[in-house]
């Protein structure tokens, strides 16, 4: 009897985990496929029958090819530079904006915040042509600046940080003012350290979006020298390797791995940041 009840208690649990595992597998499938292809030789990839496990391993050849025939490390360095620059500039812009919207009293504050919300609603693709023309007029197309400038102001970042800043008690800021801190010092010494979860969450959003972005670099940049990883892979396919899917997939694995590692390291922070904004 007790055995039966313990089984019946476990059934929903097993069911739940089963469903989660299935959806997880569904999301992972492209990645598994990518890793599998990156380990297979060319003839294995185009073989008529389908099998996940390579019949013979040529992982070493594929990964070497990816590194040798394309400046993969250069793409990665470009990606790190561009993402870091974007995130840094976004922070410099968003943090004071968010602080003003969350904690200061001034005329037109609500209108300004409404403008920020509207800014979130506009898809970046809609701005691609105006941005392109603007950068053309500035004469900075096909430079690092063209990859960074359009993303300097993040409406989403302002919104996310504003929501978090609002949860920091006013009394703490008033104490800081009485202790003699100026407004910028309050931002740097009080607001920033107290908002690390929100900043980490925003950082992950920003870095993931721009690391993976293919759309904008494809428009703004033609030069392999300054390509970000996603664009680099594309150029590399066109010019050098043609149909050699194995090295191409190896390249894809190489550009995805840093992101996965970064996400795993910051996972807890990411969830904290999301949960805290959702609860407001």
């Amino acid at each position: 009897m007790s055995k039966l009840s313990s089984i019946s208690r476990k059934v929903p649990q097993i069911l739940r985990h089963g469903i989660l595992a299935c959806t997880g597998l569904f999301a992972l499938l492209p990645f598994i496929w990518m890793v599998s292809l990156s380990l297979k030789p060319q003839e294995d990839i185009f073989a008529a029958d389908f099998h996940l496990w390579p019949s013979q391993f040529s992982g070493v050849e594929n990964y070497t090819a990816a590194f040798v025939s394309a400046p993969m490390l250069h793409f990665l360095a470009n990606g790190i530079f561009v993402c870091a620059a974007i995130f840094l500039v976004q922070l410099i812009v968003c943090v004071p904006c968010a602080y003003a919207l969350a904690k200061l009293r001034f005329c037109g504050k609500d209108t300004l915040f409404a403008a920020v919300l509207v800014g979130i609603l506009i898809p970046p693709q809609a701005l691609a042509i105006p941005h392109f023309i603007m950068l053309y007029l500035f004469g900075i197309l096909n430079t690092y600046a063209s990859l960074i400038v359009p993303w300097m102001i993040s409406a989403f970042g302002i919104f996310l940080l504003r929501q978090f800043f609002r949860s920091i008690p006013d009394e703490t800021l008033q104490a800081a003012r009485l202790d003699g801190l100026g407004e910028f010092e309050i931002i740097w010494r009080i607001m920033l350290p107290m908002s690390t979860p929100a900043i980490a969450a925003f950082g992950i959003f920003s870095v993931v979006a721009h690391w993976n972005d293919l759309f904008w670099p494809l428009i703004a940049v033609r030069d392999q020298e300054i390509s970000t990883p996603a664009l680099g892979i594309l150029l590399f396919r066109d010019d050098e390797t043609g149909q050699s899917l194995g090295p191409l997939m190896a390249g894809s694995v190489i550009i995805v791995t840093p992101l996965l590692l970064a996400f795993l390291a910051a996972q807890r922070r990411f969830i904290d940041g999301m949960a805290s904004t959702a609860a407001k």
């Binding site: 008690p169 009394e171 703490t172 008033q174 104490a175 800081a176 003012r177 009485l178 202790d179 003699g180 801190l181 010092e185 740097w188 010494r189 009080i190 350290p193 107290m194």
Partner: protein, 366 residues
Amino acid sequence: MANIHLDTIAKGYGETAVLKGVSIDIRDGEFLTLIGPSGCGKSTLLRIIAGLETQDSGSIAVDGDIIDGKRPKERDVAMVFQSYALYPHYTIYDNIALPLRTRRLSNAQRFPLLGSLVPGRQTIEVGIRQEVGNVAEMLGISHLLDRKPGQLSGGQRQRVALGRAMVRHPKIFLMDEPLSNLDAKLRVQMRAEIVDLHRRLGVTFVYVTHDQAEAMTMSDRVAVMIGGDVLQIAPAEELYRNPDDIRVAEMIGSPKINVVARKHWRIGAPQFALPDSQIAFRPESATIAAPSGGMLEGNVAGIENLGADIFVKVELGDAGPMVVRRAPGERRLEIGESVSVITDAAHMLVFDAAGKRVRPVERIAA
């Protein structure tokens, strides 16, 4: 050392007037308590003194100098907040040292990361360490300096907040309900410590509370605020014995003063009390007598035995309930028993229909 002169301070948020022209003179070295129900404007007044809010009209002078336009850091005031408002990411040491650092280090020396390389910083830091150490010792928190505020109990955080306020020797100490987050026992202990601190520092304290026990036990004078007005400023004893307004009488004293309208008094009401006036008396100045032997008739509705005192709640019918204090050892009363209440004219406080105190004519003449 500073006296504060508040001259008709008014403040409103939109349509609602929070302060309606408050004038108070706070003497040098005085412990003044602002007491009132929540929303009476007492905290707003404190924030205006600190410079965290700006008044709509009126002005503030400290030692004769108008400080209206000055920013909080230029006013030489320190404030202790209800939530303590410690910086959670700093250690206790850094929390207490921050006000000294912002005042003594130059902008270059305070610059993030690079500041510690600027010459001269090390000598100043040594001085700061000395002073933080002194303050921590005075408050008994020396062993906590390496911890973060999150690891401290409420009473310890309270002490840190006091330390952060004390460390730069301000002219004026402002406290906004600093004890309301502590448990009852700790509150009594901290009450004594703050009074002791005031005596040792000798600076002007302005203390905001809604707890009349704190106001009564700690202050030199108490200002009672209701609805944005100051009703009376006097030593606690004076407020208790001789209130100017029925709202002051009701706020000070526990249990609350008894108020019975003139028309319910069969006999014994003072001659000068007009028919629409109200007569108030403290629970300890009334006695219980046999039915129909006293001034007010009623039934015993409840008995609270606190050991040293017994409070008897008497239901007076239309006139509502009232409380009489009895000494233990008097005859036991039963719930529902009919009794009467006697009080003597000397202890009766008469208020007119608007709640203002009415005093006998001969006393005014004298």
